[in-house]
């Protein structure tokens, strides 16, 4: 897990340029869809890791469950988990990240390309 949480600043943008289409009329539904899908992805990552953890520990003869129940976190571990939880929340809520100025600029982008197909989705 640790490799994902390096302090080095990423160089490659994670988000594409341009507006996101709007598929639902009710305000916020598109963002909720992104949240649900990101949550499901994260949930699966965790479920698979727990599955592996149980198998590996069992093979090593370690009865994990009672030890987990009784474990005391130290300050550094608490801080690390705080950071990871914040990252999870930011990922789940990523569809709300694009700022309004950027969104306005993006809205004009497809038209300026002059594509006959153009943007068919409802504009955010």
């Amino acid at each position: 897990m640790s490799a994902q949480h390096s302090n080095r600043k990423p160089r490659i943008p994670l988000h594409h340029r341009g507006k996101r289409p709007r598929f639902f009329e009710a305000s916020g539904t598109d963002e909720l869809m992104s949240m649900v899908l990101e949550l499901t992805a994260e949930l699966w990552v965790v479920k698979k890791r727990l599955y592996l953890l149980e198998r590996v520990a069992g093979q090593a003869g370690v009865p994990l469950t009672p030890q987990i129940e009784g474990y005391e976190l130290d300050d550094a571990e608490v801080a690390e988990l705080d950071e990871r939880r914040s990252l999870l929340i930011a990922t789940v809520l990523r569809s709300l990240e694009v700022d309004p100025v950027e969104r306005g600029r993006m809205r004009e982008e497809m038209e300026s390309l002059g594509s006959p197909a153009g943007p068919a989705g409802r504009v955010a």
Binding site: R11, I12, L14, H15, H16, M33, S34
Partner: protein, 390 residues
């Protein structure tokens, strides 16, 4: 289950990163298989009868199907999930590439492959001005000297995108069309083969494997793709040259190639550039040479629902030239570049690396038959290709 890439430029995700990539691949499989089938049923059972009641006829084309589907709840969920899955493909790959960026550049510098760069080349607007198919940085953005980020992002993301349906090395398209040429015209022995808009050379290398005596060249406008493609080919031990070049302005003499190939390339180009590329292809082909493009099938050969289904990418996936291309008359595109109309060729083929050769050969013999599987990514996809002999 996603395997590691099978060449020396592979980068290793953490266990959690790989799990996330597998989730995204599964999500894509679900939306493109299960949900796509349900959406077709929704159209046939509910939307089409409603349209017929209102208009006294079925929809005529993909646009009418699109208009009729826009307010359907199922279409909205299909689209929202597919769109998010596309974003998540890149989000599952970019952190891994980012972390390995310097080390990858070093690896490529040390074992560079046959790459010819053109620092003066201006990346065309259709690549530079939009993040094509929602890929952050499009095909060309670089973040450090001698960067291979575009290649690494493309190679790793299409691996997730393809959910194991495009070949072990994402090279089934190349194998399918190289072997189509080998089997359909046994007397044709190409000595020089060009792959235009080749990205990282996934579908270039199969030509070198199928025709080992031929000189094979791949071109792309992106330096980051060309560096990566050349090092990747070297890792596979294949002597293929990659050059940074614009397919609308080829730097080759007249009559230099026996085959000019492209795959999944034309639909990224504005029409004027497709026409310019075809004129250039005609110029650089030897008499008796073949232009062959693997592409999405033309709208005028598809049923209205299938036109709508494939054109989704043009409306929602930041591929603005996709539908304008598919709306063209392909034989006419070839003829306008100088190819004789009677020399037009086209094929609808099963995937070569997933199909016994006898069955593949039988599909060549029966000729191009269009259907709902043509060009639609899934376990039963058939690839489409067209072109012309000079």
């Amino acid at each position: 289950m996603l395997k590691d890439l099978s060449h020396d430029l592979r980068i290793t995700p953490t266990r959690d990163e790989r799990t996330r990539q597998e989730f995204v691949a599964s999500l894509r499989r679900h939306v493109l298989s299960d949900m796509a089938s349900s959406m077709r049923s929704t159209f046939e059972r509910e939307v089409q009868p409603g349209f017929e009641r209102a208009h006294g006829r079925p929809p005529r084309d993909g646009e009418e199907v699109h208009d009729a589907m826009q307010d359907e709840r199922y279409f909205r969920f299909y689209s929202a999930i597919r769109y998010n899955a596309q974003e998540m493909v890149f989000r599952s790959v970019i952190p891994v590439v980012d972390r390995n960026l310097d080390e990858l550049a070093t690896r490529v510098r040390e074992r560079p492959g046959d790459a010819v760069l053109d620092p003066g080349l201006r990346v065309p607007n259709n690549v530079a001005n939009i993040d094509v198919h929602l890929s952050p940085g499009s095909y060309h953005s670089e973040y450090l000297p001698d960067d291979v980020a575009p290649g690494a992002i493309y190679d790793n993301s299409i691996h997730v995108f393809a959910f194991n349906q495009m070949g072990r090395d994402i090279d089934d398209i190349g194998h399918t069309f190289a072997n189509f040429v080998r089997l359909a015209w046994p007397g044709f022995r190409p000595r020089a083969i060009l792959d235009a808009g080749c990205t990282v050379g996934h579908n270039t290398l199969p030509w070198a494997k199928t025709f080992p005596d031929a000189e094979v060249t791949g071109i792309d406008v992106s330096a980051g793709l060309v560096r990566y493609a050349a090092a990747r080919a070297r890792s596979f031990g294949l002597p293929v040259r990659f050059m940074q070049m614009d397919a609308t302005r080829l730097a080759f003499p007249d009559e230099s190639f026996d085959v000019v190939f492209s795959s999944m390339f034309l639909h990224e180009l504005p029409l004027k550039d497709i026409r310019a590329f075809f004129r250039e292809a005609y110029r650089v082909l030897k008499p008796g040479g073949l232009l062959l493009n693997m592409e999405l099938p033309p709208n005028n050969r598809m049923q209205p629902y299938d036109r709508f289904y494939l054109d989704w990418d043009s409306y929602y996936n930041k591929e603005p030239w996709y539908k304008p291309f598919r709306d063209q008359d392909y034989p006419q595109l070839c003829a306008a570049a100088g190819f004789a109309p009677e020399r037009f060729v086209e094929a609808v083929l099963p995937r070569y690396t997933y199909t016994p050769e006898e069955q593949f050969r039988a599909c060549i013999d029966r000729g191009a038959r269009f259907g709902s599987r043509t060009g639609r990514l899934g376990e039963e996809i058939e690839w489409y290709g067209f072109g012309a002999w000079k």
